[in-house]
């Protein structure tokens, strides 16, 4: 009987300690004691994590290569079909050419952004059971990374850094529920907020203007924050896949399909220095104007 009491006492103490920690963490907000505890522990663990990653990564690559082999065959078939379709379009319509030039312009924006990037590799991914989307990358404060920096890859925006240790950093992905990015539609300039939906393949874009024009396949870019933190300007986010207009509401929203495939993140870049030339005014009718050499007016 005495033993039963002991069992209950242990459980009660553990639950109480957990709850106390939870409430302390929620109540204390940013920059508090628990934040420091977390950053110290992250710093202690970072070297172990990185060593383990280096040891384990070859095994992982072997597994993922195998599963990709199965994917590859199906993908080849899909691409062939797509190729035929694209060739058809190229021959028949000018529309495709117009779209291609728009894409070129978009590429110019990214190029003229001339962000200074620190390349980094993804070493850890948070479990889905946490209902949050976070990754660890192998670059930290030693590489000039601080919290709230833009993270992107060749396809587009990935997210922003949060906890930073000397050698690693945690990145909160664009699709995380807590993620909210100021964005505008490329070419139209309509503004709004893109927010994560806890889903890998879609984010929501809420326009400020309820009667603004927005169409499927419009491209969404970040509008950029002050000093480029947490989000640098002009980074491609995604493409509009459907527009919802709810009558009576003051805002209009659209579903965005992100350019980045969040299940296959590997090499990313952290923007350590935003462009001196803001890429925003470059969006114009003549593609030549988008060259960075001509936009510098010093």
């Amino acid at each position: 009987m005495r033993d039963n009491g002991r069992v209950r006492a242990v459980l009660a103490v553990l639950l109480l300690v957990s709850l106390t920690l939870t409430i302390l963490d929620i109540r204390s907000g940013d920059g508090a004691l628990l934040k420091t505890v977390r950053s110290i522990s992250a710093n202690l663990i970072a070297p172990i994590q990185q060593g383990l990653f280096n040891a384990v990564n070859p095994v992982r690559i072997f597994f993922s290569d195998y599963s990709e082999l199965i994917d590859a065959r199906q993908r080849a078939r899909e691409l062939e079909a797509q190729n035929v379709e694209l060739l058809e379009k190229l021959k028949t319509s000018d529309d495709a050419r117009r779209r291609a030039s728009e894409l070129d312009a978009l590429l110019d924006i990214a190029g003229s952004g001339s962000y200074r990037l620190v390349p980094a590799q993804v070493i850890g991914i948070g479990p889905r059971q946490d209902f949050s989307w976070t990754i660890t990358i192998d670059a930290g404060s030693n590489d000039g990374i601080t919290p709230n920096m833009t993270v992107l890859n060749g396809e587009g925006l990935i997210g922003r850094t949060s906890t930073v240790t000397q050698t690693t950093a945690t990145v909160i992905l664009l699709i995380d529920k807590s993620s909210r990015v100021g964005a505008r539609i490329s070419g139209r300039g309509e503004l709004g907020f893109a927010s994560g939906q806890d889903l890998p393949g879609q984010i929501e874009f809420e326009l400020f203007d309820a009667i603004a024009k927005i169409e499927v396949n419009d491209v969404l870019l970040t509008w950029g924050s002050e000093d480029g933190q947490p989000f640098a300007g002009g980074v491609p986010i995604g493409r509009v896949s459907s527009v919802e207009s709810k009558p009576g509401l003051l805002t209009k929203s659209a579903v965005i399909e992100p350019f980045v495939d969040f299940s296959k993140l590997d090499l990313v870049g952290v923007v350590v220095d935003s462009p001196r030339v803001d890429p925003r005014p470059i969006v114009g009718p003549t593609p030549e104007a988008a060259l960075p050499s001509e936009t510098e007016t010093e």
């Binding site: 553990l14 957990s18 977390r38 383990l52 948070g126 059971q129 949050s132 690693t168």
Partner: protein, 173 residues
């Protein structure tokens, strides 16, 4: 519980928490991420009873919250895993008597863990859509019970290596 055994508990849990984001989460399997941590907590709870189960769960939760890239509110994982560890401990299944019952217990416990964690996150952080939770449950049950096939014998073996078990370890309600 002697100190060597506690050391084994801490070491196995710490290893699982580290390997989860680096290896298991990056396998890109459909549905839930393979949860080695809950399987380990269940294995220790099955072998050593509710006190060890709850304490192991608590420690595992703390490690999870402190190791990047997870950034939930500190203490939520400890709360959920202590409850799971304790409950599995008082069920009193014996791996020596039945092969499948421990696996069933692990599968069930891991599903309960997801529901518990989702509830706690919904209360303390932000609400989670039910469909998001639901789509993880089946894969979670499959992955954890498959993992338990290997983990439970491994922990049993480790436990035997660490010397005879004291009467107080086998504590049940």
């Amino acid at each position: 519980m002697n100190s060597a055994r506690w050391f084994a508990v801490v070491f196995t849990i710490f290893f699982a928490v580290l390997i989860q984001p680096i290896f298991l989460a990056r396998l890109n399997l459909p549905g839930a991420t393979i949860d080695m941590i809950v399987v380990l907590v269940c294995a220790w709870a099955i072998l050593k009873g509710p006190i060890v189960g709850a304490t192991t769960g608590f420690l595992a939760g703390l490690f999870i919250d402190l190791v990047p890239p997870t950034e939930p509110v500190l203490g939520l994982n400890s709360l959920a895993l202590s409850i799971v560890g304790f409950s599995v401990g008082i069920l009193g299944v014996k791996p020596s008597k039945s092969f499948f019952r421990p696996l069933l217990v692990v599968a069930f416990a891991s599903v309960v863990l997801i529901l518990l964690r989702a509830t706690l996150i919904s209360i303390f952080v932000s609400p989670i859509a039910f469909s998001r939770v639901f789509e993880l449950l089946i894969t979670q049950a499959i992955y954890t019970s498959l993992l338990a096939v290997f983990v439970i014998p491994l922990i049993t073996w480790l436990d035997r290596k660490l010397g005879p078990t004291l009467r107080s370890d086998e504590l049940r309600i």
